[in-house]
């Protein structure tokens, strides 16, 4: 209640006179008035006095003191908070009333000096202040700030807070912080108890303090004279610490594995999106489309154009871009199929060359229209940020959404191919063109639609890529080899194979990366793939039956 009153007062303060605020908190006013006169030695005490007043203004005062924004006016020793303005003058506000004074030059002011230890003190005071904030996430932040270096004072505060705390995450972190302090300053019994709490925590601070304790125990053992041993309790502590460290290490291993897996799957899902369109045009139709990468590029540029057209709808532009990119790339794909590819049926190598030529033309077209420089595609707000699971493991939202999205596209495509009449026709033409034609399926039409579908999905992949990499004329080129390898690795004509291949290639890459660096990981995967295809030319899941050859 008092706090609310103070808060209300605070709001009223700016329009009130100085005298009133003096009346509201004389201790604070007197402490503030001492600030200009004191020496560095007295400052810590003064800060304690200020803190003891529990005024809501403490935070502003201490933050400005910490940042070096707290000055006093030389003439009347009035303490002010200053901000340098664009004209090089200093805007100043009265520290208690927030009343603005006219801007002055620096010579009229004098800074209230601090030093490192004082700044440290201020930081911990500020952290403790936040402990009683009404937002749990602010409280959590505050506890975490104390976590690294708790002293007796803050531990006492934490213990007090623990009794009142209702949020579970905050409670846990406070317990860890108290245990860290206990391990540092407590008696042996307290230390042993603390270790068991710390063993459960993944906070880096817990790990640090445990390993420091381990070191000090080892040092102690080394210092012991011949015949002496550690006391029974110290031994218990040592084993407990060792066990706790092992446990933490184990957990960290698990989570770093999970993290690699997550990165791998997210890379895999990008590969999947890039390869899946190819899996249709190459795998189902048997057409080599070297311009596939350029279809992705077109999708990415469509995203860019849509963002340029509706700059105020950045958060929703992706939803518009996905169908638009599908249409643009799909139509271009149909155009290519009708214009070039259908004349080269049954001549795969010529198709490869002709579509390569098309890819060059498309690249140059984009270069001429949009300039050869990379274009910036903005990420919507909901794509940024991350889902924090524990202190050492968090999932970024953009990767998470991409995984979900690519799987959705994959299954949608599966549905189209397996459950719709169009899919039936596509599969029929892929298996036996003459027979399908005899059954009155328009194979030409099916070819065009299939190619359009594959290209359209490449366009959607381009929308996703625009969120991950730079959008430039060479965007597609860097993915075309990877996508082909994914399709071949998975087994041509097998969509499930493509899924498995993309995910396993992505994970392989990410697991190798910490060991070898990203470029070498890339090379190793490429060479490995080439070797694999030498051994099994039909990929992981070869097509069986008559249509295989």
């Amino acid at each position: 209640m008092l706090r609310i009153c103070c808060l209300l007062l605070c709001m009223l303060l700016p329009c009130n006179s100085f005298a009133e605020s003096t009346a509201s908190n004389p201790e604070l006013t007197s402490a503030i008035s001492k600030l200009p006169k004191n020496s560095l030695r007295e400052l810590p005490k003064l800060i304690e006095t200020i803190e003891a007043t529990e005024s809501p203004k403490i935070k502003t005062i201490l933050t400005s003191l910490l940042n070096g924004d707290l000055y006093y006016i030389r003439a009347n020793k009035q303490v002010v908070r200053v901000v340098k303005n664009t004209e090089g003058l200093y805007d100043q506000w009265h520290i208690l009333t927030d009343e603005q004074y006219p801007a002055v030059t620096k010579s009229k002011l004098k800074k209230i000096r601090t030093n490192n230890s004082i700044r440290g003190q201020i930081k911990s005071v500020l952290a403790l202040l936040d402990l009683s904030h009404k937002d749990p996430s602010v409280r959590l932040e505050a506890v975490k700030r104390i976590l690294d270096n708790p002293d007796k004072e803050s531990t006492a505060r934490l213990k007090k807070r623990l009794a009142k705390e209702s949020d579970e995450a905050v409670t846990q972190t406070i317990q860890v912080a108290i245990s860290v302090a206990a391990l540092k300053f407590g008696s042996l019994e307290e230390q042993i108890a603390a270790v068991s709490v710390l063993a459960e925590s993944l906070e880096p601070a817990a790990n640090n303090v445990l390993s420091r304790t381990k070191e000090s125990l080892t040092e102690k053992t080394a210092e012991l004279a011949e015949g002496e041993t550690l006391s029974a309790q110290e031994k218990t502590l040592q084993t407990a610490v060792n066990k706790a460290l092992d446990k933490i290490e184990q957990k960290r291993d698990i989570y770093s594995f999970a993290e690699n897996l997550f990165f791998g799957i997210s890379l895999g899902s990008v590969l999947l999106l890039a390869a899946i369109g190819l899996a249709i045009t190459f795998g189902v139709m048997g057409v080599i489309n070297m311009a596939h990468g350029e279809m992705m590029m077109l999708g990415a540029y469509t995203t860019y154009v849509i963002q340029q057209m509706f700059p105020e709808l950045i958060n929703y532009s992706l939803f518009m871009a996905i169908p638009a990119a599908f249409l643009v790339s799909g139509l271009v794909g149909i155009l290519i199929e009708r214009g070039v590819i259908r004349y080269l049926k049954g001549r795969p190598l010529e198709t490869l060359l002709a579509t390569f030529g098309i890819s060059l033309i498309l690249q140059q077209l984009v270069r001429t229209i949009f300039s050869p420089l990379n274009r910036q595609v903005q990420a919507p707000d909901w794509m940024s940020g991350s889902l924090e699971i524990n202190p050492i493991f968090s999932l970024t939202y953009n990767r998470l959404y991409i995984i979900i999205f690519s799987l959705a596209v994959f299954f949608a495509l599966m549905l189209i191919l397996k459950k719709t009449p169009l899919g039936l026709h596509v599969r029929a033409v892929a298996q036996n063109r003459e027979m399908a034609r005899a059954l009155s399926i328009k194979s030409d039409w099916v070819d065009a639609i299939t190619f359009g579908l594959g290209s359209g999905i490449a366009g959607i992949a381009g929308v996703v890529l625009s969120q991950l990499t730079n959008v430039g004329p060479n965007l597609g080129q860097s993915y075309i080899i990877d996508s082909f390898l994914v399709v071949v690795f998975g087994g041509v004509g097998n969509l499930w194979g493509t899924l498995v291949a993309a995910m396993s290639l992505g994970s392989m890459n990410k697991f190798l990366e910490p060991l070898t660096g990203s470029v070498l990981a890339n090379i190793i995967v490429l060479v490995g793939l080439v070797l694999f295809i030498q051994k099994r030319p039909k990929g992981l899941f070869p097509q069986k039956g008559r249509s295989a050859d």
């Binding site: 080269l344 190598l349 490869l352 030529g357 060059l360 270069r367 080129q477 390898l485 030319p537």
Partner: protein
């Protein structure tokens, strides 16, 4: 007709004369090369720069570059045109040969580099290396370099080819794998840790075998050597194609399984022709580097390899001279286009890809079937004539 061709070659010894009259396309190409080289070097050396007949050293180097491309196109044609293996990674062999030459030239700089280290090339000093990596051993010897130029691309072609062909990887799969191979090499050579100069590659060469690379004479000599190597490469390819092995290779192109059923082992022939082709490409690379003065990982880029394929496609695959014509025409067009309107080049190249595959499946060489028919007629006429003269001599 007979008398005229014989009179052209009358300066040659009689054995060569009969050889020349037997193989029309071979002697035609070699003669053209010989005359062109002679003309270019003569015009460069004899006429003053102001003269209308003068050929500048710049042009000579440019022509030398084109001839390297022609040799490269020849090697691509050998595997693609005659064996049906569409390699999208021939740039890798070219670049490896180039790097072998580049290493030698790098060592020739000696202490004239920026850092003045007599042992280490500049980029290694820059990376704080204190000794040469093991694979640079021997790179200061010309002989060693010459061996490496042949050996490294040949070895890569052998290893890659034998693995791919033994497991019967063919067609599009093979093309994509060759592309993956050159892409992997591209990534690898970009790494500074590889010890090949990373991004910048090898450059700032000073001299070769003690002759300054900047001097006009060295450039002309390099040009002549390239022309000679092209002629030799052409002759080798010609003999290979005409030999029994070459015929098996052509048969593999047309129907691999039939060749296998007849009792041959197609994979052995394929590996063999792939290795020959790789070596030719490597030599082309080695000749290319001293003339352009730089080799960097960009040569490994898949786009380069595909450009080689388009030379052959435009020139006409399956005819050796077609490959050379294609390389020269497209390279010349590229030089002109990129000078006049750089944006248009990719449009033109891409358009060429599409148009040639759609409308000119046999390339420029197939454009003039009458010409070929005429050649053949004169060929048979010649054969008849020689038979006549022989019988006359006998009687």
């Amino acid at each position: 007709m007979t008398t005229s061709t014989q009179s052209i070659f009358s300066f040659l010894p009689p054995s060569l004369q009969s050889l020349a009259t037997k193989m029309t396309s071979l002697h035609f190409v070699v003669t053209t090369l010989f005359v062109a080289t002679l003309y270019v070097s003569f015009c460069n050396l004899v006429f003053e720069p102001g003269s209308a007949l003068h050929v500048s050293t710049y042009t000579v180097t440019l022509l030398g570059k084109y001839l390297c491309y022609a040799l490269l196109a020849l090697s691509v044609d050998l595997v693609w045109g005659y064996c049906g293996i569409l390699s999208l990674g021939h740039g890798a062999f070219f670049a490896l040969g180039g790097y072998a030459m580049g290493m030698y030239l790098m060592r020739q700089i000696g202490d004239r580099g920026v850092y003045g280290n007599p042992e280490l090339p500049d980029f290694m000093v820059f990376l704080n290396w204190d000794s040469l990596p093991w694979y640079w051993a021997g790179s200061d010897s010309f002989i060693w370099m010459a061996v490496m130029v042949v050996l490294i691309p040949g070895l890569l072609a052998y290893v890659f080819g034998s693995m791919a062909f033994k497991s019967r990887v063919s067609g599009v799969y093979l093309s994509i794998m060759t592309q993956a191979m050159t892409y992997a090499l591209l990534l690898a050579f970009f790494r500074n840790e590889m010890g090949f100069g990373g991004n910048n590659g090898l450059t700032d060469f000073k001299d070769i075998l003690g002759f300054s690379l900047q001097s006009d004479t060295t450039r002309i000599v390099l040009f002549i050597i390239t022309a000679v190597m092209l002629a030799i490469g052409y002759a080798i390819s010609h003999y290979i194609v005409k030999s029994k092995m070459g015929r098996v290779v052509t048969a593999i192109r047309d129907s691999e399984s039939r060749v296998r059923f007849v009792g041959y082992k197609p994979e052995n022939y394929k590996v063999w022709i792939f290795v020959v082709s790789g070596v030719l490409a490597g030599i082309a690379g080695a000749l290319y580097v001293p003339q352009v003065g730089i080799i960097n990982p960009g040569e490994f880029s898949p786009l380069n390899s595909i450009e080689m394929v388009i030379w052959v496609a435009i020139g006409g695959r399956g005819t050796l001279y077609g490959a050379i014509i294609g390389a020269l025409v497209v390279s010349y067009a590229k030089t002109r286009f990129t000078a006049i309107m750089p944006e248009a080049w990719l449009f033109a190249l891409g358009g060429l890809f599409v148009l040639v595959t759609l409308f000119l499946p046999k390339g420029l060489a197939g454009l003039a079937p009458q010409l070929i028919a005429k050649f053949k007629r004169s060929d048979s006429a010649k054969a008849a004539d020689t038979a006549d003269t022989k019988s006359e001599v006998k009687s």
